[in-house]
């Protein structure tokens, strides 16, 4: 970790009331979720993090508060720095402010997180499902969503299984 990056992290911790954790030689910053858009703006404008590499989420079900962690990866091409930011999200109000107005790249990443985890992003201009069909029920990457298996059909029992085989979209409540 360069001298410069540790100063950035220190500043962010002070300004946004954050915490730091360290693993495998990388430091990551944990910020309150409601301040994530503000923090992204500071990272973009003041510290030169011009590329938003990734947004994703992790589900810690059956934990309730926080149930999810959002994960942001910021990259600064001119300064050769990368920064991991995490934001805990409670199960009761699964939503986060969108960073789309700062990084256009966030649009699809936030749609993917919404599709897979059901976390809503306030301010995203186009919050529809992206990978799953538009009428799908449930959010597949949540830990309480079953993996789901299909009964193999052979020629001797094809018809028999076909009758009771549920349509993919009816399986979410299994």
């Amino acid at each position: 970790m360069s001298e410069n990056l540790s100063t950035i992290i220190e500043t962010m911790v002070k300004r946004f009331d954050g915490q730091t954790t360290e693993f495998a030689g990388e430091t990551s910053l944990t910020l309150p979720v409601e301040k994530i858009a503000e923090a992204a703006k500071v990272l973009h404008d003041e510290f030169g993090f011009d590329l938003l590499s990734d947004i994703t989420a992790v589900d810690y079900w059956p934990e309730e508060n926080p149930r999810f962690h959002l994960y942001y990866r910021f990259t600064s091409i001119p300064n050769r720095q990368t920064l991991n930011v995490r934001a805990p999200v409670p199960a009761t109000s699964a939503s986060a402010p969108s960073v789309e107005s700062i990084y256009h790249a966030a649009n699809w990443h936030e749609r993917e997180v919404y599709d897979m985890f059901g976390i809503k992003f306030e301010g995203n201009s186009d919050l529809r499902r992206i990978l799953m069909p538009h009428d799908w029920e449930g959010h597949p990457l949540r830990k309480d969503y079953p993996l789901g298996y299909e009964e193999p059909q052979f020629s001797f029992n094809f018809e028999e299984i076909d009758v009771r085989k549920p349509h993919a979209k009816n399986r979410s409540g299994e």
Partner: protein
């Protein structure tokens, strides 16, 4: 019987102009089965005559839930699924995943394995760029390039078959090294490719680079500025065509890329032609890297001897009790990774391929996420296509070099 709901435009009206809703402009579906969309990509076009006003990509047709499936498999067994994401770049995907696993558990890789990884990843980059060059030229009705490119790609796939037994889904790179050492024929096969390749690239270029028809179809088409490109999250040759010097191999070298001398081709125009020139130049740079790696390919083991994470060689299993125990444990239970998470990135032929890997201390990944370059590169399409003709749209999709398996995972 299954019921298929009729798809309507309700809920998508915010994406179009008011003129479309009044019927002044035309809404048209392109795909999902369209030869120039390079897979199952559906575009919803808003057209004013021939001019594209908006192009909204609709993805997800190839979604197979790989991220969810990996959570149910051990670290070694989950790896085979990475081949199937970006099917033009299986070795690169293996490499990205293995680097993440190695970072998570703190595993060292022998130098010979690192060099082999670089050689194969660069061969894969060449083969991927050849498919791109052939198909995107075919979209612009340049037929012959397609045939030539696939001829050379075949040579590369034969090398993969030689080292791994598979032409495409190799799973050759494994956590802690590679599957096994390369056979003796490997060196001759690669040297032969290195000898013919530069001349063949000249051949492709002589058909396209200065061809006036090709220039007319590509120059000034699908422009995007450097600031926009970074802000939209573009990476890879698509970004470097706009003049931004971002290549993960230089930005954060992995697997020993810092040992090799190579350049990152850049163009500043940001149009389809710039991206074409950058990619062709990248093939030449890849040849340079392979040449250097072959010249100083070190001897030695190709797998880590840390048997807590890497299965011991078969020959030891018959004679050593410990080796047998390790073998049994690794293939039934797997290895436990410490609690924590890592993000590690590689430069795939399409851009930054990042792997987010989180462990809860058990033998299976708690969460795997792939930051795939095509996903980010495709979402900028409406910006690039705006104001160009439908025929240009085909050239633009080709120049972004998307792989739908990479987007949908």
């Amino acid at each position: 019987m299954s019921q298929i709901e009729e798809v309507t435009l309700d809920g998508m009206t915010h994406l179009f102009s008011d003129r479309a809703l009044q019927g002044e402009t035309m809404l048209l579906n392109m795909g999902p089965q369209h030869p120039s969309t390079h897979g199952v990509l559906r575009l919803l076009l808003e057209l004013d005559g021939e001019t594209v006003l908006n192009a909204i990509p609709d993805v997800g047709y190839l979604h197979t839930g790989i991220e969810k499936n990996m959570e149910a498999k051990t670290y070694q067994k989950a790896e085979v699924m990475t081949d199937r994401m970006d099917y033009m770049n299986p070795i690169g995907n293996n490499l990205a995943y293995c680097l993440a696993v190695e970072k998570l558990v703190g595993l060292d890789v022998p130098v010979r394995a690192q060099a082999l990884r670089v050689i194969l990843a660069e061969l894969q980059r060449i083969s991927s760029h050849l498919v791109w060059l052939g198909t995107s030229a075919l979209d612009l009705a340049a037929m012959s390039d397609f045939m030539y490119c696939f001829r050379e790609r075949e040579t590369i796939l034969n090398i993969f078959e030689l080292v791994s037994g598979q032409r495409m889904m190799t799973t050759y790179v494994r956590p802690g090294g590679v599957w096994r050492d390369v056979p003796v024929e490997f060196e001759a096969a690669v040297r032969n490719l290195l000898k013919i390749m530069p001349k063949r690239i000249d051949e492709y270029e002589s058909l396209l680079t200065k061809n006036p028809l090709f220039i007319d179809r590509t120059a000034g088409i699908g422009k995007i500025s450097a600031e926009d490109a970074v802000n939209w999250g573009l990476t890879g040759a698509t970004l470097r065509g706009s003049g931004v010097n971002y290549d993960v191999r230089k930005f954060a070298p992995y697997s020993g890329y810092e040992l090799y001398d190579f350049e990152v081709p850049l163009r500043t125009e940001g149009d389809v032609r710039a991206r074409y020139i950058v990619r062709v130049a990248e093939i030449r740079q890849s040849i340079r890297i392979i040449q250097q790696a072959m010249d100083k390919l070190p001897m030695g083991p190709v797998r880590s001897n840390n048997y807590k994470f890497v299965p011991p060689p078969r020959s030891e299993i018959g004679t050593s009790m410990e080796a047998l125990i390790h073998h049994f444990k690794l293939w039934t239970e797997g290895f436990n990774a410490p609690r924590g998470y890592v993000y590690s990135a590689v430069e795939s032929p399409r851009g930054e391929l990042g792997v987010y890997l989180e462990s809860d201390g058990g033998p299976k990944p708690f969460r795997v996420h792939f930051r795939t370059p095509s996903f980010d590169n495709l979402q900028v399409l409406p910006v690039m296509a705006k104001g160009f003709l439908v025929a240009d749209l085909v050239a633009i999709i080709g120049s972004v070099d998307i792989v739908l398996g990479d987007i949908d995972r």
